[in-house]
């Protein structure tokens, strides 16, 4: 069942409250607590099956990928292939386009539709070259005052021998560092799988959105199950324990807003999914308009520096 209007409004308000750095951590206002309780009630109804359904929807073969949104949301799209060092990573897309007449830089992981494209795009798992391509494009955006949009959709960074030799960990760190330095607005949206370090590399943004049926987690359900149960088949149990769903991420203040999808999921109607995403992206960018670059950067860092729970 899709979330009601009321629930979406509630989540949005909570998201906004959460995004105020002063309200992070233990110091939460009465209103925030009240909203949290309401969300908790809604959240309680998510059963293990429902959470697993989100995982399935997030990975649905027909779910729109980054380029499906590019096609529908951006005019004059020009793809930038080069990482200026080693190679063109098909698992990462970067490019320039016009969003309602305004030039933006868009980066995002890209999965493949058919078996050949899946292999060539490595199922959306970037190598260090891919992250370098993305940060190169984001640095370009910073030089020219273009906002950055990042669409996150990856099971994780590619765990390969050559990827490690080329510095996979350092590439993920560097990509985040580049985002932490941007003086232009940056909006990230998790549009499918937000898998661990491979995802966060593109998500250190001013506004972090998440589609209704996307997932965002520290480890994939299968990875978790393989480690904990030594059986990847127990992924359903693992997902239920981690709650990688959007409501949970909103509750924790990890994302600012949930982007609705067409009834039944984004795969049912790509055009409608793109319209809803486009609306959310434009709204977020409008909110960030006019904020001086130094302030943006300071607030962005403060937002992420406030995340965590400790006593």
């Amino acid at each position: 069942m899709p979330p009601s209007e009321h629930e979406l409004r509630l989540r949005e308000r909570l998201g906004r409250l959460r995004s105020l750095p002063l309200l992070g951590g233990a110091r939460i206002s009465g209103e925030l607590e009240r909203l949290q309780r309401q969300i908790a009630r809604i959240g309680e109804e998510a059963t293990d099956e429902e959470i697993w359904r989100k995982v399935e929807l997030a990975r649905h073969d027909d779910r729109p990928y980054t380029l499906d949104y590019v096609e529908r949301l951006l005019d004059d799209w020009f793809e930038l292939h080069g990482d200026r060092a080693l190679g063109d990573d098909g698992a990462m897309i970067a490019g320039l386009g016009k969003l309602e007449g305004r030039t933006v830089v868009l980066v995002g992981q890209q999965k493949g539709r058919d078996i050949h494209e899946r292999a060539s795009r490595r199922f959306g798992m970037p190598n260090p070259e891919g992250y370098r391509k993305a940060w190169h494009a984001m640095e370009l955006a910073d030089r020219h005052g273009f906002p950055v949009i990042s669409l996150v959709d990856t099971p994780g960074a590619y765990p390969g021998v050559v990827a490690e030799q080329h510095g996979q960990g350092a590439a993920i760190a560097r990509s985040q560092a580049v985002m932490a330095r941007l003086t232009v607005p940056a909006v990230a949206c998790v549009i499918g799988e937000g898998g661990s370090g491979g995802a966060i590399a593109l998500a250190l943004a001013d506004r972090v959105l998440m589609q209704e049926n996307a997932i965002y987690s520290v480890i994939s359900p299968e990875g978790c199950a393989a480690i904990l149960w030594r059986d990847a088949g127990q992924a359903k149990k693992a997902a239920a324990a981690f709650r990688p769903d959007a409501v949970h991420c909103l509750e924790l203040g990890v994302v600012d807003e949930i982007v609705p999808e067409p009834h039944g999921g984004a795969h049912i109607d790509h055009d409608m999914a793109a319209r809803l995403l486009g609306h959310a992206l434009r709204e977020s960018l409008a909110e960030l308009d006019g904020i001086p670059g130094d302030d943006l950067r300071r607030r962005r860092r403060a937002r992420f520096r406030s995340l965590g729970v400790f006593a």
Binding site: V161, Q168, A173, A241, F304, V309
Partner: protein
Amino acid sequence: MAKIDVSVETDDQPSPPPSHPNTCPSCHSHYRDDELERSLWVCEQCGHHFPMRARPRIASLVDPGSFTEEATDLHSEDPLGFFDLRPYTERLAEAEMKTGLADALVIGRAAIEGRQCELAVMDFAFMGGSMGSVVGEKLSRACDAAAEAGMPLIAVTSSGGARMQEGILALMQLPKTVAAVEDLHDSGNALLCVMAHPTTGGVLASFATLGDVVLAEPNALMSFAGPRVVQEITREKLPDDFGRAEQNLRYGQIDAIVPRPELRPTLSRLLRLFDAPE
């Protein structure tokens, strides 16, 4: 809430456990506790670096009596109500008892051969050196302390990655520490990183690789994905030195490999080069 066992992830030794912790896994030489302590836990026969705990590490690096610990009151919470074989809270309490530490990172002000610095040292014995909210917060505070005092931050890492028991908030410690390091960089003060075995996953993919200078101990594993995962997913044959410090040096990922006995003089020289206050 489903019950999951994360003991495998956090309590495993980085390499197959030797018959005895004091037996060198490489050449099988055996040492008494006091012998290992004297050699800084380095095998005198073959140079193998045994794991080194945070407190002896600090003692081996800093001028006697110069270390003032900070943020000792920070403790982890259990935001997910996480339960594996036992509750996360119980595992935390056990780790605290076992290690005498409040979490997997110790921070504080110190001096090395008369030069001042901020120091952050991880301890693998505390839940595999995993990074949760407390590690992220302490590292961030260490960055701020170094920036405010106008001195370099030295970070010695040893970690299996993000602490799974804290879920997505553990992942958020990556951008948190990256943001803190960028604040430190903006203040004009240096970050000097030393990676000890193992530094993998989320710590490698955040502050550990963002140092102005990045050092590693001999044979330290420094891979984003663990060898087992890479093997399983790719079915590739792994090189013998997969993800090790030597491979990382060869591929230009780090600046130098420094054997443990040379670490103090090396850091001292770097502190002089970065004009750390006396």
